[in-house]
Amino acid sequence: MQKCEYIRHDDLPPLATESQIKHVQRACELDKARLGQSAGSYAVYRWRVHESQLRGAIISHIAAGRRIFLKFAQDGTRRIIPNHLQANVSLFEDLDIYVEMVLMGNEMIIINAHDHMPITPRLPQ
């Protein structure tokens, strides 16, 4: 089994709030989740899953009580990007993926979804 490294506890961004998690869950359940370009390419062509399976994986992630984090800006200031959430979601039994979501109105965009990079530490679940 491939070894993986996780982000250290001190470096983790804050957890998403209860209302943000509810927003994600509702958007996934009510088919209000749109796919960004990377998420669409990975889902349809690499993982060969339907968009509904990706939404289902996010719903299962929430139902299992796994964590969803806010997202820091990439400039190293630890500034939180508003309405951007991220998680390490299990798409299949043996495949965890990185998912980044943006909350917009009553909808949501899965702006990024891709395999974990081998050299980049993962978010814990």
Binding site: R34, L35, Y45, W47, Q53, H84, F92, D94
Partner: protein, 200 residues
């Protein structure tokens, strides 16, 4: 078939990627890298595109339209189709289906969970089994193991034994109905039954 236009649009909203541009609903020809040797382009799909960074967001209707186009192009069975076929054939578990088809124990489970996809040729094979239940039952019972063709030749033709439904309702082409009956088999070894080597 034309791509469906989404009922709700993000047009005018700020792009969350660059935080500078705005989305507009546009139609594009979307290139789909289904396989290296089999690229497809899905024409005229509706997407939200940022006028600054060019990021594309697929509305749900568009995603489903692209999924359908890819499935049509590749002709590979999807997880849902595989589940439906297994249930229609009366097989209770995925492991049992794997065993009947002669696959690795967990292969059908991986296909049905969407973890892996059957090849196009395997998809054709499974479609035949789904469409001709007699063929599936023949496979399931491993009927060929029960026949000893040397000592007890089958009373009915091989074809009728293998595909009883098809034999009962033959298609229009007589060759398709029973190919062996129509076409005498030629023994390629005839005349070569005795070969003498002489060494001098």
């Amino acid at each position: 078939m034309n791509a469906p236009k989404p009922k709700e649009s993000l047009a005018g909203q700020t792009c969350p990627c660059c935080q500078q541009g705005h989305f507009a609903l546009v139609q594009i020809d979307y290139p789909g890298p289904v396989a290296d040797d089999n690229p497809i382009t899905v024409p005229g799909v509706w997407v939200e595109q940022c006028d600054h960074c060019g990021e594309i967001v697929f509305p749900g209707e568009t995603t489903r339209f692209i999924e359908a186009a890819v499935a049509e192009q590749t002709e590979q069975l999807t997880a849902r189709e595989l589940e439906r076929i297994r249930e229609d054939l009366g097989v209770a578990t995925q492991d049992e289906m794997s065993e009947i088809l002669g696959l690795g124990l967990k292969t059908f489970h991986k296909w049905e969970s969407g973890r892996q996809f059957p090849t196009r040729s395997m998809s054709y094979y499974i479609r035949i089994l789904a469409g001709v239940p007699g063929a599936f039952e023949f496979l399931r019972s491993r009927a060929w193991r029960n026949s000893n063709r040397v000592t007890t030749p089958p009373a009915e033709s091989d074809f009728a034994a293998m595909f009883p439904d098809l034999a009962a309702n033959p298609p229009s082409s007589p060759r398709m109905a029973n190919p062996r009956a129509q076409q005498p088999r030629i023994n390629p070894a005839r005349g070569l039954t005795r070969v003498v080597f002489s060494f001098k």
